[in-house]
């Protein structure tokens, strides 16, 4: 069954928070809607569920990979081109530590960037309805559900005091 999205617009946060209850009463689940805002609200302010993500795994994997690469690179180079200096061991750990530190951080940074892109699902295959007024202080309730339930959800949004229900992307209304 194809899923479609509609966007309910609210001019204040309280109405939007109340409307989430109306949506739940109308048969929507927490997974069926997202609250869109132009600035971050305190987590849970709209009664939304805690987003699930695994972002912390990415820098750990990246750091381990970076460290491994740096160890292989540094130890490998010294073993391949052995130079004994002042009777010191072939593997110069103080110098290796610096490169391993660099490699670990570089890996962590790169994987963190990959992590946010992946976990935020960017770019998305489908662009949902959006309205520029969200960036000017309005709150959007984006409902994604089966096509047959869409009318019920639209009615729920209107019942929940939505000022307008947007069906298409690309509207950029001003003032």
């Amino acid at each position: 069954m194809a899923r479609k999205s509609i966007l309910g617009l609210f001019d204040n946060a309280d109405s939007a928070a109340d409307a989430t209850d109306v949506l739940l009463e109308a048969g929507a689940t927490q997974d069926d809607f997202d609250v869109l805002t132009g600035s971050p609200y305190p987590e849970g302010a709209f009664g939304e569920k805690d987003p699930v993500h695994h972002i912390y795994v990415f820098p750990i994997i990246g750091a381990l990979m970076g460290l491994t690469m740096a160890l292989v690179l540094t130890a490998g180079t010294q073993v391949a081109y052995p130079m004994v200096t002042g009777g010191k061991p072939i593997l110069a750990f103080p110098a290796m530590t610096i490169i391993c530190y660099e490699g670990t951080l570089l890996g962590a940074v790169l994987f963190t960037i990959i992590g946010i892109i992946f976990e935020s699902r960017l770019p998305r295959l489908r662009l949902d309805p959006y309205d520029a007024r969200i960036n000017e202080g309005y709150i959007g309730l984006l409902v994604t559900t089966e096509e047959e339930k869409l009318d019920d959800m639209e009615r729920a949004l209107i019942r929940g005091s939505a000022l307008e229900v947007v069906h298409e992307r690309g509207r950029a209304l001003r003032g």
Partner: protein, 458 residues
Amino acid sequence: MHESHHVVAPSYLDMTAQEITNDVLKRHHSPGNQFWTIAMILGGLFVVGLVGLFMLIADGFDNKSAWGYYAATFGYVFSLSQTAVLVSVALRMAKSHWRRPLARISEMFAIVGVYSFAMLLPLLWVLPSIEGRRSLWFEWPGNTPHIWDTMALGSLVICGLAILYFASLPDLVTDKEVSGKSDEDVSYHPLIPHWFGAPKHWQLQKIVLGLLGGFYFLMLIIVHMLISVDFAMALIPGWKDAIFPAFHAINGIQASIALIIVTMFILRSRSSLGKYLELEQFWALSKILLATCLLWFYFWWSSFFTYWYGRMPAEIGVLKYIMFETYSTVFLLAFTMCFVIPFLILVVNVVRKTIWGPTLAASVILIGTFFNQVRYYVAGFSVEDHTLHVLENLPDFTAPGPIDFMVVVGGISGAVLTYMLGTRIFPIISIWEIKEGLMLQRVRKFMKRDIRVLAKPE
């Protein structure tokens, strides 16, 4: 009655989210003729600097002392620009509310990091091989430290740009949406239409900014160490000071705070951003600036007295070279302008609690920091024989010539120009953070005065 003169009314931005969005974006899209006039002048000076650089390259890379002022300019641009990003990172971690208007001003310096990375590249050809001389790297095979310094600075630049991009993403989306651009518009980054401010997006953004901020801090300190050791300390025979890299970083932190204060002052007076950049931001930063002035002295003193009491020939040679004989004038200028003058300005509370006071102190620090870089980098590059263990015969002072002036002025102008052009891509005021701040604070009556009430969700 007397006390009432010292009561500062809580600053509160009396604007709606829509007004903030439209106001910042209007200024973002219409910087004004003065902006482009200044950009053209800076562009001209940058070209002069490029000519100077080509003249240096034409003379070859063997005469290292000719590159001293270029290295000092690189050290200056690197220290200021890369460390400036840390101000936003640290204040965001501390969850301070007053940092909101200056967050983007600080993060925008990540763009200048690309410029400082480009400045590093010619120096890699000038930096002598570690063969036969003391360095951080022992007898490491290959192009050490060249490749590792490049990798370290490159990683820092990538991290800084990522912080800038993900911190700006909501504002880039706002810019696109409010300007009514279509999703297919190629002037916007492809990720922008796909980021729409869902709770998960905001949460991930917050976490990632925290993670990248932590990595940035960890990386910045080691890059300060590598640059200061490889391009200054290791080039001067007998200089083995464990405190110097930390001192270099502290000077960078001090100068970058000063840089942000001066940038705020310019934006306030030239871009009519006074309603966002108020006394609160200057006052708060001036306290940290005062602390860094004291830290500057503390680190310098710690570094100095171990050499002073040690009195080994190598230590005496270093002190004479970079402090008391060859570069004594430069050292005195740096000492006075990085510590004495700003300390005397900022220690007075009445002056600190103004906009002009911290700006004056910050301007002096920015000049003093340049002199500080000169006494390290020019002194380092002026030594002929880096394989010595003791500086027995002090090299002469390298006075700046016409090419040096071209490189210094052009190099710094290029950095300022890069920053200015960055403001054409990213709004200089973080719209979403200002809006979030407004949502979390109110001014309420408390007995006979107004106080600001801040909400702390966490």
